[in-house]
């Protein structure tokens, strides 16, 4: 039994179904990222876990006990969870200290205990000198850390983060990404983290759950998701890729548009319908000549850009598709010339959806 389980959870708003039968298991101490484009249902899923949203059907369980089901919802205040909000949601009428101490006071801890624990967490988050400031007097990064401190100080069973970094500028975002991972490694809270930024998910998560249109597309380790996508959506969403389509020849081979055979080293094509495969940009070999017997096609260079460390090619192949490929700087083919593309079998991933 996993620590946090979602079983066939659905959420409907009138005729609109936002979350469509989500199954998910999170082990104790794991950091799970819900990743997907906006409107994919990831935030609703998070709010279902938090208890802000009632489930239309299915169950949410924590340590085996049901906290949300179609009829009943344990309210957020009854779940011993914490949440960090996109807007930080710091209470403007309370000081940093009061913000952080609020949850502890609700738990009726003695005053000196409250003070000790607030100071402890403020020290960890390097906020101690600011404890008497009001949120309006803090920078964005400081507000973010107060929000973290407030969420962590109550030692929640589950920590929820809703796009916590989207309001920060790029440098700060990178820094906070590692900060969140560091704090997670230190406290080992079971964490559900919602983001639409794939690199944020890559750097922080133990498990990434890619969501699309209310469904879970794929869940797995960052490496699984990146290297072994199961669907076109996941392949496209995580890292740059080329999707080649054609007629199915076997479980792993297809005849692509442009009349060449692509034999994939992993994955499995859908049993019927359109056959598609994914090859990442930097896994394609570009050359003047044919480099192998199979998985090769000749095309025309449509664009070539010198990027310093590499060259970025767009090559149009006979079927009319344009393939993007990254080549070493030495491979220099002018626009309009012919180019051979080689898709190494072990790098080709057959997609089932």
């Amino acid at each position: 039994m996993s620590f946090l389980e979602l079983a066939a959870v659905e959420k409907k708003y009138g005729a609109l179904t936002v979350v469509k039968g989500v199954d998910l298991s999170v082990e104790r101490g794991q950091l799970v990222c819900l990743l997907g484009p906006s409107g994919c249902g990831k935030t609703t899923t998070l709010r279902l876990v938090a208890g802000f949203v009632d489930a239309s059907s299915g169950e949410v369980r924590v340590e085996g006990r049901v906290v949300s089901s179609a009829g009943t919802t344990v309210p957020p205040e009854g779940r011993n969870m914490s949440m960090i909000f996109q807007s930080y949601a710091l209470w403007p009428h309370m000081t940093v200290f009061q913000n952080v101490a609020y949850g502890l006071n609700l738990r009726k801890l003695p005053a000196d205990e409250v003070k000790r624990r607030v100071h402890e967490i403020l020290t960890v988050t390097q906020l101690l000198p600011l404890e008497h400031r009001y949120p309006g007097e803090l920078s964005g990064g400081q507000q973010q850390r107060v929000s973290l401190a407030r969420a962590l100080v109550v030692k929640p069973e589950i920590l929820l983060l809703d796009e916590p970094l989207s309001n920060l500028d790029a440098n700060l975002r990178e820094e906070m990404r590692f900060e969140i991972r560091r704090l997670h490694d230190e406290f080992k809270y079971t964490t559900v983290y919602v983001t639409h930024d794939q690199s944020e998910a890559m750097t922080t998560a133990d498990v990434i759950v890619v969501m699309n249109d209310g469904y879970i597309e794929q869940a797995g380790s960052p490496e699984d998701i990146y290297a072994r996508p199961e669907s076109e959506f996941v392949a496209r969403f995580i890292g740059g890729t080329n999707i080649l389509s054609g007629a199915r020849l076997s479980d792993t081979a297809l005849r692509c548009n442009g009349d060449f055979v692509l034999d994939c080293g992993s994955g499995k094509l859908a049993a019927d319908g359109k056959a598609i495969a994914s090859v990442r940009h930097h896994d394609i070999h570009v050359g003047e000549t044919r480099q192998a017997e199979v998985n090769c096609v000749q095309g025309t260079v449509a664009r070539q850009i010198y990027m310093g460390s590499h060259r970025d090619y767009l090559v149009t192949i006979p079927g009319g598709e344009t393939i993007r490929a990254i080549a070493p700087v030495e491979v220099k083919l002018p626009v309009g010339d012919s180019a051979w593309l080689h898709f190494p079998k072990e790098k080709c991933r057959a997609l089932s959806r």
Partner: protein, 578 residues
């Protein structure tokens, strides 16, 4: 470990069957608002199709709207008056707003405060002040003019008992609507838009004409429409000034239909076009304010550009002072003088000084105490009830925690479209019957005031709620606070300022209400505004002015106290972001 135990406690608590008060609250509020708003309108429509004599169905009431030339004339005059007021308000308020918001005119802050003060003046009191000042023969200003210009008694400089006099007297107390909207808009027009024009070589005046003016045009129009609406639905000032001038506007005409023998059917039918016009004006205003250009007002690009007036400083100052004398100094001066002088026209000498009006009002006139008590009671109860309803409704609507909550918002805003006199008719028809027996009690007035003031209170509260990010409340919940606890600890302190502002707004609005009151009041439910009106009918100006001063003093005192009551904790005046 203590935290875990405590946490388990919380979890255990939460596992009890969840008591959700929002559904019953929703149903209760929905019912209440429906009764408040829909019932009177239903009865108006019902009676408008009913024959007064035998109770049968008839279209005669509506036919008389077209055939009865007195009704038609009253409508035309009312519409003419309202547009006159709107245009005059706009013409006066716009330059003043510009001077105050965008120039280096001295004393701008004080001017703003003074204009707001003329907001507080009940319009009927203003009208009476202008009777004292500008009655054609006895008016203080006319007497003065005659003396200065050495003219005989046939010389009349101002005559307030005319159509134009009425327009002027109402505009004096409606121009703040335009002023406030326009000056707020000017405060927020991003100066980079103007800078852009200046960089492109536009002269200062060109910039004003080509950039600033178009940007505040929606605010001007919206403010003007409010002024028009106010004038159209106003009862007190026309009753005081138009009747002596020998014409009815629609509100006084409807009121006169209640005289013996009452013609309820015609009164109800006559109220309906007023309702329709009001709804149309409000829709127009909404369209204007909702247009895309106006969203620029939300921008916050630095401080607005200040124009140096240079040699225009003193003429501008004179203009502002002139307007302020007309709206504040002269009326209040007249009221003060009349309260302490034998006759309004008497010279300002020590012999003419008297306290007899005070003596009469405070000790001899038996209605005073009761009226003051009723007024205070209704003011406080209405303000409290409306604020409470507004807070809960705004909470349900903005947080959308229940499906159909939007319906509550519509209901709470709907009374805006119901002019006071129409509501008075509706409430009279709804509750002045043996079933309810509410007529003659304070409750019917309470219902009227709550209905009239609800939109203002609701709009204020819902915009405040919209300003509080829902995540602030979510954060409270997830930290372990119940819905109510969150409301109390987090939402309430953040709303404190708005709640008090809304309360005061409703209170002041209530104690100056006359149009619905006039049809619903009885001996035991006298209000200060009504006895002022009654005293005006019997011409006791001195007593009126004393009562007016008392009324204003009480309003200011209550507002001051309200602002210093330590409810909901001391909130820091930091508004939440977002």
């Amino acid at each position: 470990m203590t935290a875990t135990q405590a946490a388990n406690g919380i979890v255990g608590e939460g596992r009890r069957k969840r008591v959700d008060l929002s559904i019953p609250t929703f149903v209760l509020l929905g019912g209440l608002l429906t009764i408040l708003v829909v019932l009177p309108l239903f009865w108006i429509i019902f009676y408008s199709f009913r024959n007064d004599v035998d109770g049968s169905f008839t279209l005669q009431n509506f036919a008389s709207l077209v055939t009865d030339s007195t009704l038609l004339r009253a409508y035309l005059l009312a519409i003419g008056m309202a547009f006159g007021v709107g245009i005059l308000s706009c013409l006066v308020a716009t330059p003043m707003a510009w001077l105050v918001s965008r120039t280096d005119l001295p004393g701008r802050k004080l001017i703003r405060i003074l204009v707001t003060a003329s907001f507080v003046t009940p319009p009927f009191l203003g009208a009476i002040a202008y009777e004292i000042l500008a009655a054609p023969n006895s008016g203080v200003l006319n007497v003065l003019a005659r003396k200065l210009l050495r003219q005989d008694s046939s010389f009349v400089m101002f005559d307030i008992y005319t159509f134009s006099g009425l327009v002027f007297a109402i505009a004096c107390f409606t121009f703040p609507y335009v002023f406030t909207l326009v000056s707020n808009a000017l405060d927020r027009v991003p100066s980079d838009l103007e800078d852009a024009s200046a960089i492109l070589g536009g002269k200062a005046l060109t910039t004003v004409r080509k950039v600033t003016l178009p940007l505040v045009l929606p605010a001007m129009l919206a403010g003007t429409l409010i002024a028009i609406l106010q004038a159209l639905t106003m009862f007190g000032s026309p009753a005081i000034l138009a009747l002596p001038a020998g014409f009815h506007v629609i509100t006084t005409k409807i009121w006169s239909l209640f005289q013996f023998p009452p013609r309820l059917g015609v009164a109800a039918a006559a109220a309906i076009p007023l309702l329709v016009i009001t709804v149309m004006l409000l829709r127009t205003q909404k369209t204007i304010l909702g247009r895309k250009g106006y969203t620029v007002m939300g921008g916050k690009s630095g401080t607005p550009r200040i124009t140096e007036l240079g040699r225009w400083k003193w003429p501008s100052m004179a203009f502002v002072l002139f307007i302020l004398s007309l709206t504040i100094f002269l009326p209040y001066g007249a009221i003060l003088k009349t309260a302490f002088m034998q006759t309004p026209g008497a010279g300002l000498t020590w012999e003419n000084f008297t306290l007899r009006h005070w003596n009469f009002v405070l000790f001899e006139f038996s209605a005073t105490q009761l009226a003051l008590k009723n007024t205070l009671f209704l003011g406080i109860v209405t303000a409290t009830a409306v604020t409470a309803i507004a807070v809960v409704t705004a909470y349900l609507v903005t947080r959308r925690s229940i499906r159909g909550a939007g319906y509550l918002g519509i209901l709470a805003t709907a009374p805006v479209a119901v002019p006071g006199i129409v509501l008075g008719v509706g409430l009279f028809l709804s509750y002045a019957n043996p079933t309810f027996q509410l007529y003659g009690t304070l409750w019917i007035l309470l219902i009227a005031f709550m209905t009239i003031e609800l939109p203002a209170g609701y709009q204020q509260m819902s915009s405040s709620f919209a300003g509080i990010h829902p995540e602030l409340e979510d954060a409270g919940r997830i930290m372990g606070a119940s819905r109510l606890r969150t409301l109390w600890d987090i939402t309430a302190p953040l709303l404190r300022t708005s709640i008090i502002a809304a309360w005061c707004f409703v209170f002041v609005g209530t104690i100056r209400e006359l149009s619905a009151t006039i049809l619903l009041t009885t001996a035991n439910t006298k209000l200060v505004s009504v006895i002022i009106y009654d005293l005006n009918e019997s011409g006791d100006l001195g007593a009126i002015c004393v009562l007016g001063i008392i009324l204003l003093a009480v309003s200011f005192t209550v507002v001051c106290i309200a602002n210093n009551i330590p409810v909901l904790g001391r909130a820091r005046n930091v508004m939440p972001r977002g």
